[in-house]
């Protein structure tokens, strides 16, 4: 549910990075913040939560055009993974327009990924959304660790584990160095804006 700000002639939509703790959501956002400085509006908000950090900033995607003469402003968020942060989760997930699910490629995190995805589905359901309908992009993060000999899951396995039913676009990434981060975000914004366009057409 994007917000129309008639005063500023802007459409404000929300993109949320979701995933198990320490999977690299925060690193994704930090990379975007530092390498797309021109498009970032305002400061980055960083909140220390148990076992993770929660980030937020405003983002003005360039070259994506306007919807009905309004600029599009995107709010990028990460969600704290811990169950107890229900108030934050509620605020962030309510009215979410697009989601990036960041999965951890480490073999040992296999189960954590699946649990987190399930958790996302349950949370979305609470706000009346279906994981199959919401614009969603998958990111398999930490691919660079293979070079250091750390056991990673092959992409095929991760696709089977997480994306067999969803069949959403998926990207390999390594958020620390920035590989794949831009592509993931671009694809997610594309899907989000397409969904918004569709919605507004219906409303016409």
């Amino acid at each position: 549910m994007a917000i129309f700000n008639l005063k500023k002639r802007e459409i404000e939509c929300k993109v949320v990075y979701y995933g198990p703790g320490r999977c690299g959501k925060t690193t994704n956002l930090e990379y975007i913040f530092s390498s797309y400085k021109k498009q970032v509006k305002g400061e980055m908000v960083s909140i220390n939560t148990e076992g993770d950090r929660t980030l937020f900033f405003d983002f003005l995607p360039m070259g994506l055009g306007q919807i009905r003469g309004c600029d599009v402003r995107v709010q990028l968020y990460t969600v704290p993974g811990q169950v107890k942060y229900s108030s934050t989760r509620k605020l962030v997930l309510r009215g979410v327009d697009g989601i990036v699910f960041v999965a951890d490629s480490l073999e040992v995190r296999r189960e954590k990924n699946m649990l987190s995805l399930k958790d996302l589905q349950a949370n979305l359901k609470d706000y009346g959304k279906s994981i199959f309908k919401v614009p969603l992009v998958m990111q398999y993060n930490k691919r660079d660790l293979a070079e250091q000999g750390i056991p990673l899951m092959p992409i095929e396995q991760m696709e089977r584990d997480l994306n067999r039913q969803l069949k959403v676009p998926a990207f390999e990434a390594s958020a620390v160095v920035g590989t794949g981060v831009g592509n993931t975000l671009k694809e997610c914004l594309k899907l989000t804006l397409q969904a918004l366009q569709r919605e507004f057409k219906w409303a016409k």
Partner: protein, 391 residues
């Protein structure tokens, strides 16, 4: 000043985080005022061009006050559009405050203020100062027949004496006290908008007062037109009257529990032995029941033990009452019973309809009973903790 209110509503529906985003998107300048029945004073946040610049909540000001207000989950808010003369004390960004505030609530760094709050928060050590003050909404003067002043320490009502008057507090604080062999035991404190006197005043003429009310500081009271309230009560369906009487009984029992705890005469066994939960604390049971036969007990589960709250008998109601928040079952207490309990499900829609048709004063009066139940429960839990540990 009221004319400037441009946005108002319930915090239950729109939480502070959402309100702040809304005001931010709108670049609004003005004052956001929050009122909670569980807080002695309203909270204020001052906005300039959509950004909070200062705030006040009790003794706290600035950022600290804003964070404290995130704990207010139940209450009213109103935003007035006006120029802000206050200095810019807060410089943190809006979203930063919102996310930090919510995190602090989830982390337990900020106290939750609302019904059932005690179960989520470890209660502070108990002394008279921590007896919470219950406030009510604005007084409807249509029902105020006369005004009366009482001075500090003066008795307004005395336990055991006859009387059927009902007052609403216009200004000041009144302490409700039960007499015990060990001296007076404070139960709750009532503030502006709260009512003195119980539902039983409608039932029996010249009924006996069950507690003492003492003025704390100078107090101004409004004498209510109890004739009119009694008439309204008489027009209700017998079922709805039964519900109200049952609520009133529950409140009286909570006060009894506090006295029993003080006397160390409370025996939790009779509330729990051989009983199984009918409604378990924390479940999402949406129904309301009336007891046809047998008895049930209301028990709250706390970290330090199970606190017996009330016994329910034939004709009493239990379950979720959609329009009232008792801070009891199903969210914050269990209902336990033996197998011979017989109940009947009640048509909640009918009750809701009847409640909606009540006059404002009568509604306030019932809401006040519910708030008293919720706060008294907290007091009972505090006493339970204090006295059971002394054993």
């Amino acid at each position: 000043m009221r004319d400037n209110v441009v946005l108002a509503g319930s915090l239950k529906f729109l939480a502070l985080g959402d309100i702040m985003q809304l005001l931010g998107a709108n670049s609004s300048t003005g004052v956001l005022r929050l009122i909670s029945r569980y807080a002695a004073e309203p909270g204020f946040i001052y906005f300039e061009n959509g950004n909070p610049v200062n705030a006040a909540c009790g003794a706290a000001i600035g950022l600290e006050a804003v964070y404290a207000l995130f704990g207010w989950t139940d209450g009213e808010f109103e935003f007035t559009k006006e120029n802000i003369l206050s200095q810019r004390v807060i410089t943190k960004s809006r979203m930063g405050i919102i996310l930090e505030g919510l995190k602090m609530v989830d982390d337990g760094q900020v106290k939750r203020v609302g019904p059932g709050a005690a179960s989520r928060k470890t209660a502070s050590p108990l002394d008279t100062d921590t007896i919470p003050i219950i406030k009510g909404p604005l007084v409807d003067y249509m029902y105020v027949a006369d005004e009366e002043d009482f001075f500090d320490g003066e008795y307004i009502v005395e336990e055991g004496k006859h009387g059927s008057w009902i007052w609403v507090i216009l200004e000041g604080v009144v302490e409700i006290v039960r007499e015990t062999p060990d001296g007076p035991l404070p139960i709750v404190r009532l503030g502006d908008g709260s009512f003195i006197g119980s539902l039983s005043s409608f039932l029996i003429q010249g009924h006996i007062r069950t507690a003492t009310a003492v003025a704390v500081g100078n107090v101004q009271l409004g004498v209510l037109d109890s004739q009119r309230l009694a008439q309204e009560f008489a027009t209700l369906t017998p079922e709805f009257r039964g519900l109200l009487v049952s609520l009133d009984k529950r409140l009286k029992q909570l006060n009894e529990r506090a006295v029993e705890l003080r006397q160390k005469q409370l025996d939790p066994a009779e509330y729990m032995d051989n009983k199984k939960p009918v409604i378990k604390q924390g479940t999402a049971d949406e129904d309301l029941y009336i007891i046809r036969d047998g008895s049930a007990s209301v028990v709250r589960q706390e970290d330090y033990g199970r606190v017996p709250l009330a016994q329910l008998y034939n004709g009493d109601y239990f379950g979720r009452i959609p329009f009232l928040d008792l801070g009891h079952e199903p969210d914050f207490a269990s209902v336990m019973a033996t197998s011979d309990l017989k109940v009947r499900k009640v048509d909640i829609a009918q009750f809701q309809k009847e409640y909606n048709q009540l006059s404002t004063t009568f509604k306030n009066f019932i809401d006040n009973v519910a708030t008293c139940v919720s706060v008294s429960t907290k007091v009972v839990c505090n006493y339970y903790k204090k006295f059971s540990m002394m054993k």
